[in-house]
């Protein structure tokens, strides 16, 4: 029964996947992207020592980037989406066992990734003929990537089993991946600093370096570098492959073991009250809605209200305070400049990450809970409602902005000479700002048409063409070329804005 149920789930998912034009378009887009790499290298073949290896290296990094996106969006929602749709109970009632459900949900997604990788095979053969890469390297690289895909699938199954919501599962996946990727660098830095301060011996430092290297080799981030070195002759079943496969299986087994515990009570799918839950009903009933009602609603229920803003401000302040102390210990000169620069850079990064995350939820939550049509029935234009919602979300960025301003006050010269001029005076600063603007628009548009993954897909849609552009023609592009592309990007963003409003009007009637 379990096997039959699993096959039924896999078959259904594969059928749906095959019928969707989107699936084939993604594969086509992927093949085109690789073809572009090949054409570019072929065009400038005289500039490359090992053109085949360079093509293959680009393909591997694009694959790695997409596997990470798949881990965050594609795999981390396998079970949570059933929980959110309240269909998990129906699957259980149909007699499908926990392992049957897990296999039935994970296998089609894993197969989808394998199919995406297999699209590239003809082009990898081209890479061999271009020279600089051997069949062993290609084989080892694909094994490394497939093992990483298994890890992503296992981790996705586990996190989506224990988490109640897709958003939480995706956030945890991102945190785990970021931790694994950053840890080697932090360990190396820690060892170097401790040794410099004479706190540890050479042997301890080497042991820390060794540990950092071991952690680095657990993901393709470390192993692909080794595989793609000239003259690689290692075993395809590398340390990374074994670790990733084992971890993937262990994660899956844990998902299976804990499945009943975390899915026994099918909670009624309901929107979260968030930080508003901290208030008693009495307080809630006494506090009044602002005259700008939509701003009030989104500020309180989408961003968490004043409580969330204060908590975030405290968290950023503590984190940045700790970093400032570390920097002041390490740096002997220009301490304030270094501290200020760190605050500004960190908060700029936080803003770059926060903005798309909040904006992707701006309309998604309304559509998910079928409340959008009620908002559009208010005597306001769709644009005005959308602007009200934007204004409601804006205070969520205040903590990062406040800490950024503090950084600018600590290091005004750095802000003026480096950050301000780099962003607002130089053409490439404008170029990247416009690309970011476009990415945010694409993310909002995608959030209206896809259930999950709007952020990673939106980023990919903008980042991948830019990577190609910068790797090819963009390297020697003049300022006029950059300005022209910038203007086109701006026009495209405006067009997407129009599409968003149009789509919102359509969705209100559905």
């Amino acid at each position: 029964m379990a096997v039959r149920g699993t096959f039924a789930l896999v078959e259904r998912a594969m059928r749906v996947d095959t019928r969707l034009a989107r699936t084939h378009l993604i594969r086509l887009g992927f093949a085109t992207l690789i073809l572009l790499f090949v054409v570019q290298v072929q065009r400038d073949i005289s500039n490359y020592n090992a053109p085949g290896r360079d093509v293959f290296r680009s393909m591997c990094w694009v694959n790695f980037f997409l596997l990470n996106l798949a881990g965050v969006s594609f795999f981390s929602t396998v079970i949570t989406e059933e929980k959110e749709e309240l269909t998990l109970g129906l699957l259980r009632m149909a007699g499908i066992s926990p392992v049957g459900i897990l296999l039935g949900k994970v296998t089609p997604r894993l197969l989808g990734v394998v199919l995406l990788l297999s699209v590239q095979l003809p082009f990898t053969i081209l890479a061999i003929t271009l020279g600089g890469v051997s069949i062993d390297q290609i084989f080892a690289a694909y094994v490394a990537l497939l093992a990483f895909a298994v890890l992503m699938a296992g981790m996705g199954a586990f996190l989506s089993t224990v988490c109640a919501r897709s958003s939480l599962a995706a956030s945890l996946t991102t945190t785990v991946l970021a931790t694994v990727f950053i840890t080697p660098y932090l360990l190396r830095d820690f060892g170097r600093e401790m040794y410099r301060d004479k706190e540890i011996s050479v042997t301890t430092r080497e042991a820390i370096y060794e540990a950092a290297e071991t952690v680095a080799q657990t993901t393709p981030l470390g192993s692909l570098d080794v595989i793609l070195t000239t003259g690689f002759n290692g075993n395809p079943l590398s340390f990374q492959v074994l670790v990733d496969l084992s971890c993937g299986v262990v994660f899956f087994l844990f998902a299976w073991l804990l499945f009943d515990v975390f899915t026994r009570n099918e909670a009624v799918s309901t929107p979260a009250r968030g930080m508003m839950a901290m208030f008693s009903k009495r307080v809630a009933s006494q506090s009044r809605v602002w005259n700008h009602a939509i701003v009030w609603k989104d500020f309180n229920f989408l961003t968490g209200g004043v409580t969330a803003v204060v908590i975030k401000l405290l968290a950023y302040s503590i984190l940045m305070g700790a970093m400032s102390v570390m920097i002041s210990k390490r740096v002997r000169t220009d301490v304030s400049d270094n501290v200020g620069a760190t605050l500004m850079a960190s908060m700029l990064t936080a803003l770059i990450v926060e903005i798309p995350i909040y904006l992707s939820r701006l309309f998604r939550e309304e559509l998910r809970w079928q409340t959008w049509s009620c908002l559009t029935l208010l005597p306001k234009t769709t644009t005005r409602v959308a602007l009200g919602k934007l204004a409601g979300v804006a205070p969520a960025f205040l903590p990062a902005i406040i800490v950024f301003v503090v950084g600018a006050l600590i290091a005004p010269k750095f802000f003026e000479n480096y950050l301000f001029k780099r962003i607002f005076i130089r053409e490439d600063g404008w170029y990247w700002m416009l690309q970011y603007l476009l990415a945010v628009h694409v993310i909002v548009l995608l959030s209206l048409v896809v259930k999950w993954g709007a952020v990673p897909f939106g980023i990919s849609v903008v980042v991948v063409p830019n990577v190609i552009f910068m790797a090819t023609a963009g390297r020697n592009a003049s300022n006029i070329t950059l300005a022209t592309i910038g203007v086109c990007t701006f026009v495209l963003a405006i067009f997407i804005q129009w599409l968003i409003i149009r789509q919102l009007k359509t969705l209100a009637a559905t």
Partner: protein, 323 residues
């Protein structure tokens, strides 16, 4: 709006649809829809699933723009003057589109504020609508924790916060238990007495028959009937029909009456010993039928124009199967 303006508007139809057509890609959802809804009336909107009821309601409430034809609400074109129309209209969809993470009071206060009511006015309005919908005791409860019937009341309270002149209610009684349904109908009667125009789409025909002044029957995107409820129930396919009640069950009543000239058909009424008598008005009138019954030796205790049940009218006017 002044009382004079309201008075002049009450003479005109609240909603007018003329030559409305609407398609979703190749599927023709509405084909040449024409009907009026009288002002300050309770208008039933019935039809099988997929007939086009919700599409019509969405056109009236400005969620959809008519592809062909014209939809007017109090003389204003919904395609042009949609913001003004929205101010005078409250739409309760058939699904629970609510911010269920809010308390009842927060939810109503949010919509009152969104309609631009100042905070002083809001307190009074919210107290009134909570009282009308009998939800005063639940004001601090989370909507998520309320029963379906109570959520339906909150939904109704929400559409009332801006004091709309027209209420569009799409299947408001679906999924409610009998008590909640009866209570909802009482609230609707109270709203009608306040001078609101109410358009209610429902499948519970018995309650519509009792509640509504006028009715529109829609099937396969076309209007099959639009008029007063009384006319619909009185209306017979071909011949006038009367219901005859004998004093006691009689054997051979059909045969005795059937011999009279002009009698077309005699049907027994299920669950009673009454009969429905249809006749040709050119050959005999209702007095003639009564006389014929008495001549046949039947003691008649009741003789009145037969009314169809709305269920029967619905079955007569709509086609079997789905499109």
């Amino acid at each position: 709006m002044t009382s004079t303006q309201k008075q002049s508007e009450s003479d005109k139809p609240a909603v007018v649809l003329r030559g409305v057509q609407h398609s979703f890609r190749k599927f023709k959802a509405l084909v040449d829809i024409n009907f009026d809804v009288p002002s300050q009336s309770l208008h039933g909107f019935v039809g099988p699933n997929g007939a086009g009821k919700t599409t019509v309601l969405k056109l009236i409430c400005t969620l959809l723009k008519p592809q062909t034809g014209k939809v007017e609400v109090f003389g204003r074109d919904v395609a042009i003057d949609y913001l003004a129309v929205r101010r005078r209209l409250g739409f309760m969809p058939d699904h629970f589109s609510m911010y269920r993470q809010m308390t009842v009071y927060e939810y109503l206060d949010f919509f009152a504020a969104a309609y631009g009511l100042p905070v002083e006015t809001r307190t009074k309005v919210l107290d009134d609508v909570l009282e009308l919908t009998d939800m005063s005791g639940k004001r601090t409860d989370l909507i998520n924790g309320l029963s379906r019937g109570m959520q339906q009341r909150v939904g109704l309270a929400r559409v009332l916060v801006n004091d709309p002149d027209i209420l569009l209610l799409d299947e408001p009684a679906s999924g409610l238990d009998p008590r909640a349904r009866i209570e909802l109908m009482d609230v609707l009667r109270a709203l009608r007495s306040m001078g609101k125009t109410i358009i209610i789409s429902s499948h519970i025909l018995s309650e519509l028959a009792e509640l509504c002044d006028s009715v529109t029957v829609i099937d396969r995107g076309t209007i099959r009937y639009c008029g007063t409820m009384q006319e619909l129930l009185d209306h017979q396919a071909d011949y006038p029909t009367y219901r005859l009640t004998p004093s006691e069950p009689l054997n051979g009543l059909r045969e005795k009456l059937g011999e009279s000239t002009g009698i077309i058909s005699i049907e027994e009424v299920e669950g009673s010993h009454d009969v429905r008598v249809a006749f040709d008005p050119e050959q005999i009138d209702s007095n003639g039928v009564l006389r014929a019954a008495m001549d046949a030796g039947i003691t008649v205790t009741g003789f009145s124009r037969a009314q169809r049940h709305l269920n029967q009218a619905f079955m007569d006017l709509t086609e079997k199967g789905v499109r």
